[in-house]
């Protein structure tokens, strides 16, 4: 399995680069990729999003054995709990002003999407596994056709209260029943795209209009070109002004 991958990102119009609250991580070596989208209305969300994606790609195989119910939760907690602890420890609580202390006590929130590609042959071919909490979306393109979109497949499924994974374990009580796991097969030449919500919504909107948005994204060579695309997307007025991130994985 030969993998090439690139991450492209741009910050919400009007914000500085330091205020980028999505996160992405790539490990072609492990076949692991992730994006996360820190929620605006939570504090230290940028740090949380980054911890989630780096923690996921550093734990290859962590989606194996994620069946339903308790087993799934336990498997996820194996890699999630140390990340939650790291987030807590990374905050200088004593230095926080009153408003930040109150908000930070609730925890930081982020959507999360992780993908593992496995080269082990199984019936039907080599496998991929993905985990999704919230509205970051994975697309699989095969033979220049959209084969699969997960967890959303329609542009009208997005709103501003997606499921979110929290750095404070206490706030994840409703999350476990909404963790989505999906598995499938891949073959050489496939393209996987992991998109945070605004870009995913744009992708699905244009796909529903019988176009092939992946061909636009996979032609992009650098951040400058991606920012031009983001400016154009925002001017169409079809998606909200937000950070945009995509990880594009091509399986050779």
């Amino acid at each position: 399995m030969r993998l090439t991958a690139q991450g492209l990102w741009t910050v919400k119009k009007g914000n500085s680069a330091q205020e980028y609250e999505d996160g992405f991580a790539i490990s072609t070596e492990h076949g692991c990729f992730a994006v996360a989208d820190g929620a605006t209305e939570s504090d230290f969300a940028k740090e949380w999003a980054q911890l989630l994606v780096t923690g996921f790609v550093a734990n290859p195989g962590c989606l194996r054995g994620t069946g339903r119910g308790k087993c799934r939760k336990d498997r996820i907690l194996e890699w999630l709990t140390p990340l939650q602890n790291a987030w807590q420890e990374g905050i200088d609580w004593k230095a926080l002003p009153w408003h930040s202390k109150e908000k930070t006590r609730r925890g930081a929130f982020a959507t999360f999407l992780g993908l593992e590609l496995d080269s082990t042959l199984t019936i039907g071919g080599p496998r991929w596994r993905a985990i999704a909490i919230g509205d970051s979306v994975l697309f699989q393109v095969q033979n220049n056709q959209l084969k699969m979109a997960f967890p959303f497949s329609q542009a009208n499924e997005f709103n501003n209260t997606p499921e979110l994974l929290c750095s404070n374990p206490y706030q994840n009580h409703v999350v476990w029943e909404n963790v989505r796991i999906r598995r499938g097969n891949w073959c050489s030449g496939d393209i996987f795209l992991l998109c945070t919500d605004a870009l995913a919504q744009w992708f699905l909107t244009w796909w529903e209009r019988d176009t092939k948005p992946w061909s636009v994204l996979s032609r992009i060579e650098d951040k400058g070109e991606f920012e031009e695309l983001a400016t154009r997307i925002r001017s169409e007025g079809l998606v909200r002004n937000d950070d945009m991130t995509v990880v594009i994985v091509v399986v050779g």
């Binding site: 009153w98 930040s100 109150e102 209260t161 374990p169």
Partner: protein
């Protein structure tokens, strides 16, 4: 008139609070040994705290809103004290930095293992109870009109200003309906100024939140305040629905931004400044 303008630092919105500080606010609530003026101070301090926490990010407060507070009682004037005294509109980050004092309050929280723990939290106080003079509500509404006439000219593309009037409803300088209507006629490209009323009453009557009719409201003051309350914009109403349903409250199509002996924090919580945890997730 969509109420969909993006609220951001480059395009902030505005909150203007009108607080009744008249002599009648020294009356006690029937149900608890507390003056109405204390009820008003509680409401405004809590609303300000919620708004500021909403805008708090990485240790700083983002200026998504300008804020003003007009007190009306012995006189009609800006009501902030201390370093903020005498000013009509102030950026929310500056308000956050200048409470009059910081109190410690005890908060009970579930400990995550089925028990309850008590924690001490900071509680900023900007306003103390005041009760003196008449209730010049018309003059307060006219002053709000002057301040916001200028504001909407400076911010034509902004999410419209939100005016929150906290009162016992007994205006002593005329009928507030005319001045309230003039205030609600002000508009940005995104919609008319929103006027919400929080009626603090010493009457023994069931709290009312966001009614769509004045039938059944406990008195003429409540009915008058209902008439001067804006219809809640659809997007806020739909977002607030989930939260209110938990308390068995239905918020109908034509619901007004009016509450009687209750708070209206939902109208702030559900203003859209970006992705937020759903109310079913936060606890």
């Amino acid at each position: 008139m969509a109420y969909t303008a993006e609220i951001g630092r480059a395009n902030p919105s505005c909150f203007l609070f009108l607080i009744d500080q008249s002599g009648s606010m020294s009356d006690q609530f029937v149900s608890e040994a507390k003056q109405k003026a204390e009820g008003v101070a509680d409401v405004i301090n809590r609303l300000m705290q919620n708004l500021i926490i909403k805008c708090s990010k990485s240790g700083a407060v983002r200026d998504y809103f300008e804020m003003g507070v007009i007190g009306y009682g012995g006189c009609v004037s800006p009501a902030f004290g201390g370093d903020l005294a005498g000013r009509d509109l102030i950026s929310i980050s500056e308000v956050a930095e200048h409470p009059v004092r910081m109190e410690k309050r005890e908060k009970k929280e579930p400990d995550g293992a089925g028990g309850i723990v008590k924690t001490e939290v900071d509680f900023p106080v900007w306003f103390d109870p005041i009760a003196e003079g008449g209730t010049p509500m018309c003059e307060a509404l006219e002053r709000a009109h002057r301040i916001l006439t200028e504001w909407v000219q400076r911010h034509p593309k902004a999410y419209p200003p939100i005016v929150i009037n906290i009162t016992d409803g007994e205006a002593t300088d005329g009928n507030p309906i005319g001045p309230a209507q003039r205030l609600m006629n002000l508009a940005t490209d995104d919609g008319n100024v929103l006027l919400y009323n929080c009626h603090i009453s010493s009457q023994v009557a069931k709290p009312v939140r966001f009614p769509d009719t004045d039938r059944g409201l406990p008195d003429e003051f409540a009915q008058m305040l209902f008439k001067t309350s804006s219809i809640v914009p659809d997007n806020i109403r739909l977002a607030a629905q989930e939260e209110l349903q938990k308390d068995g409250i239905e918020i109908k199509d034509q619901a007004r931004g009016f509450v009687f002996n209750a708070d209206l924090v939902e109208l702030i919580t559900f203003l859209d400044i970006g992705t937020r945890p759903s109310s079913s997730q936060l606890r």
